[in-house]
């Protein structure tokens, strides 16, 4: 307060720092090398496939968001007066199914991972380019089956497909929806396999494991889960369909089956799947925090190993979804303690990101705002996870809005924030152009505010006892629902803005140059957009990642005045 500095000059130059290169677009890049539709639909270029995935998941995200919007409008009043109960049940099912399997799980790995990973490794492409293209087609087949089920009347089981409701009692298109998810699962497995082999075999000379960017580590951990867990989902859904179609007793006790067995199988996949959804986001945040703090990551090995710890521990906590399912209380205790343990590697990451900012030279461009938003929301989401790991509290709040709020803090507050941050960060690399920075920051702030207003009231609502998946509810809960609906409309604006200005910037944005953020990492050493095979020469790596120097950045900045 007591020091008055000529800050106006500094601010002006800070803005100038973002864009240093007012250049021209590369002569030939992966976008401009061929224009025919055929060249896109038959491409084996990992960058183009990443963009194909982007368009596909935007469509699914939009449909799933519209379903959520309808639900929020319905819940504005306690009476179920906008849609029927049956329609409401179909809305939350389609929201869950599309968001989980057709948006969150593929989002960062298939879009940003596909685009960036081979370049980060200094490779010309992924290990199996044709398999990569095939994974997109398989994904689309799954998506078409899911949409077919939606158009032909929808499914009302919830995304969890609990038996015996799904096998015997649900009167909707359960099998075709399950088939869609089953098929899409193979695309996950293909992507995971591709990333594992690529990371093992295609690293540039000198790029040792502990020189890998942390985004690569997180994708590696994610891929392991995809390859190991997805088959369990496939067999679970197949068994469910067999029982539904042929009446073979597997899960329905009337046929001699066990309904709890389904839950064990389902969560054995679906809890690791939570980490498929969040680990890549953590990787993105590691890239963003370092770049915009101009600091090497703090505790590199700890963050890398914590990703692997999460991948492994994530496989043995599934029973915490079943504390009130009639599982034995001793099993409940084992799963409770393991669930507390899986929180530790996440905590390590958060502490290390915080420490990375120490003695940095921090700027607040859009990707950094998303990264900071991620840390805040992920921390709240993770800590409320400990409420759910605590047996006695879980009994009260499981299957209420508390759980809904918790996983949206992780999935939307965490993963979607990271995805948006990553999209903004790599947008100049993808398109060769810059998005408008000011409106980008506004959108990030609007998203953050809208998100909290939507989901924070749901924690309180859950502890009050509001069960999830309720079409109508007692009037005393209305205040919180109104807040939540208001928040959702703000959140909607936060998502719409980037879509609009990205489309605008693809054509009219300023030319970015190869490295507008002055970031480290091999992907920034090539042109923007990169040439078809990424590098004109195979890069050689001689240093650890994140060779940022905050002090030098300061000098550079001061010299720039």
């Amino acid at each position: 307060m007591n020091i008055v500095t000529p800050s106006a000059k500094k601010e002006k130059s800070a803005r100038a720092m973002v864009i240093e290169s007012e250049g021209v677009m590369p002569v030939e890049d992966f976008l401009s090398c061929e224009h025919r539709v055929r060249s896109w639909l038959l491409t084996t270029d990992h960058k183009r496939i990443g963009l194909l995935y982007l368009w596909a998941i935007i469509i699914f995200f939009t449909i799933a968001s519209l379903a959520a919007a309808l639900m929020r409008i319905e819940l504005f009043t306690p009476q179920g007066d906008l849609v029927t109960s049956e329609t409401y049940n179909k809305l939350f099912t389609i929201h869950g199914v599309l968001m989980v399997w057709f948006f969150l799980i593929p989002s960062i790995p298939t879009v940003l991972g596909n685009f960036v990973l081979p370049m980060m490794l200094g490779a010309r492409d992924v290990a199996f380019p044709r398999l990569n293209l095939m994974s997109w087609y398989v994904f689309l087949c799954g998506g078409v089956l899911a949409l077919w089920s939606l158009i032909h009347g929808g499914v009302d089981t919830g995304w969890t497909f609990y038996t015996p409701y799904s096998t015997t009692y649900a009167n909707s298109h359960v099998i075709s929806m399950a088939a869609g998810i089953f098929v899409a699962g193979f695309s996950s497995i293909m992507t995971g396999l591709n990333f594992i082999v690529t990371t093992h075999k295609m690293r540039a000379p000198g790029l040792t494991w502990f020189r890998l960017p942390l985004f690569a580590w997180s994708l590696y951990a994610t891929s392991l889960i995809m390859v190991l867990a997805t088959p369990v989902l496939a067999i679970t859904l197949a068994l469910m369909s067999v029982e539904r179609f042929f009446g073979v007793g597997i899960f329905d006790p009337k046929l001699g089956g066990d309904p709890i067995l389904f839950q064990h199988l389902f969560w054995f996949y679906s809890h690791p799947a939570v980490y498929i959804m969040i680990l890549p986001g953590m990787g993105v945040v590691s890239e963003l925090i370092t770049c915009f703090s101009r600091r090497p990551i703090f505790g590199y090995a700890w963050i890398a190993c914590s990703s692997m710890a999460i991948a492994i521990l994530g496989f043995i906590v599934w029973g915490h979804h079943m504390f009130v399912s009639s599982q034995s209380i001793y099993a409940g205790m084992v799963f409770s303690i393991l669930s507390f343990l899986v929180a530790i590697p996440s905590a390590i990451k958060v502490f290390n990101w915080t420490a990375t900012m120490h003695k940095g030279s921090i700027t607040f461009q859009t990707p950094m705002l998303y990264a900071l938003g991620f840390i805040g929301l992920f921390t709240i989401g993770g800590l409320t996870g400990l409420f759910l790991a605590s047996l006695a509290v879980d009994v009260h709040v499981t299957d209420t809005y508390f759980v809904v709020a918790h996983f949206h803090y992780i999935m939307v507050g965490g993963m979607v924030m990271a995805f948006m941050g990553g999209l903004h960060y790599w947008f100049p690399k993808i398109t060769g152009r810059l998005y408008p920075e000011f409106i980008g920051k506004m959108a990030a702030i609007v998203t953050f505010i809208g998100f909290n207003l939507t989901f924070f009231p749901q924690f309180l609502l859950g502890y009050l006892g509001m069960p999830r998946r309720y079409h109508a509810y007692p009037p005393e809960f209305q205040v919180f629902h109104v807040l939540s609906t208001a928040g959702a409309s703000i959140l909607g604006v936060g998502y719409l803005l980037p879509l609009l200005y990205f489309l605008w910037a693809m054509k009219y944005g300023r030319i970015a140059g190869p490295n507008p953020w002055r970031a480290t990492g091999l992907e920034w050493e090539t042109a923007s957009p990169p040439p078809e095979h990424n590098f004109r020469q195979v890069p050689r790596v001689t240093t650890p990642p994140y060779q940022y120097d905050a002090a030098e950045d300061q000098d550079l900045h001061v010299g720039n005045v």
Partner: protein, 314 residues
């Protein structure tokens, strides 16, 4: 019941324990949030680009610090795990002396029956200050019996029995919700729990339509369904007598030993070939499709009541 709250009523003996744990976790959450958010805010201000803060000798790792912020949350976690587990253990195990209520759930209603034979739908009347244990099963899909004011919830699963208990500590009416999604009218599968003074409860139990008690009904069904023809007295058919069996260990033909609890009896009625008593043949037909969930519960209650008697007294 329509007033605006930010906290649910604490209406059972267990509610306060759950709430204390919740407050403890909330305090922990605030603490960890602060130790993350305050440094982040401080660094964002102090180390913003262009500030004159000292940036010399930056560190890129410190194993002591890493071990500290690994072990400290670990110990805190283990503390909260233990706290949660102890409260849970206490809340999950029903006490011996309690008012018994049978619950059969179906799409989309709750059917409840008190031991003396009083039945109700979507309402549960309970006495203040006495333990109440619900024995629950479902006729169709999975439901969940959730009373937020009591902080209790238990899934109600077809094909097996689950229990839930509480001791109400506050008079009044409280929400009863189905908490496990069960189909179209899931959100209408709601009701009330009405806590009454014990005297009022006794009065309520014996007025209105009161049928024969559950045990009497069970005895009747035991004869009507033909169970007594083989399992009672000097029957021609070689079948195990059932008096005095409930709660005891039963040696099986397979060499294993089963405990004759509710689940065992239920399975023996519906899937008689599953666990056969040692020394007997698999002669009994399955009653699947010929007996309802609430009838099975009544027969179990009857067998439980003759658990201590000798066969000759039948």
């Amino acid at each position: 019941m329509d007033r605006f709250h930010i906290f649910p009523p604490e209406a059972s003996s267990g509610a306060a324990q759950v709430d204390w744990l919740y407050f403890g976790l909330s305090a922990m959450m605030i603490f960890f949030s602060l130790i993350v958010f305050l440094p982040i805010i401080y660094f964002c201000i102090r180390y913003r680009r262009g500030s004159s803060a000292d940036r010399s000798n930056p560190s890129s790792g410190n194993n002591l610090l890493e071990s500290g912020w690994t072990l400290f949350p670990l110990f805190v976690s283990l503390g909260f795990f233990s706290w949660g587990a102890v409260v849970y253990y206490h809340l999950e195990r029903p006490p011996r002396d309690s008012v018994q209520v049978q619950v059969v759930a179906r799409q989309w209603m709750w059917k409840l029956e008190h031991a003396v034979g009083k039945k109700e739908i979507n309402e549960l009347h309970v006495p203040l200050g006495q333990n109440v244990t619900l024995t629950m099963t479902s006729q169709d899909v999975i439901h969940s019996f959730f009373v937020p004011a009591f902080r209790v919830k238990q899934d109600v699963v077809p094909g097996k029995y689950t229990t839930e208990w509480f001791r109400a500590t506050q008079l009044g009416e409280f929400h009863l919700f189905c908490a496990e999604y069960c189909g179209t009218n899931h959100s209408h599968m709601v009701g009330r729990v009405i806590v009454m003074r014990p005297a009022d409860y006794q009065h309520w139990l014996t007025t209105g339509e009161v049928g024969p008690s559950i045990v009497q009904e069970g005895r009747r069904l035991f004869r009507e369904k033909g169970c007594s023809g083989c399992h009672e007295g000097k029957s021609v058919v070689h079948a195990p007598p059932l008096a005095g069996v409930y709660g005891k260990q039963v040696p099986l033909n397979s060499g294993e030993i089963a405990v004759a609890d509710d689940q065992y009896i239920r399975d023996s009625i519906l899937l008689p070939g599953k666990q056969i008593s040692a020394g007997y043949d698999n002669l009994m037909p399955s009653f699947t499709g010929h007996i309802s969930e609430s009838e099975i519960m009544k027969i179990i209650a009857y067998l439980k009541s003759i658990g201590e008697e000798s066969p000759s007294e039948l």
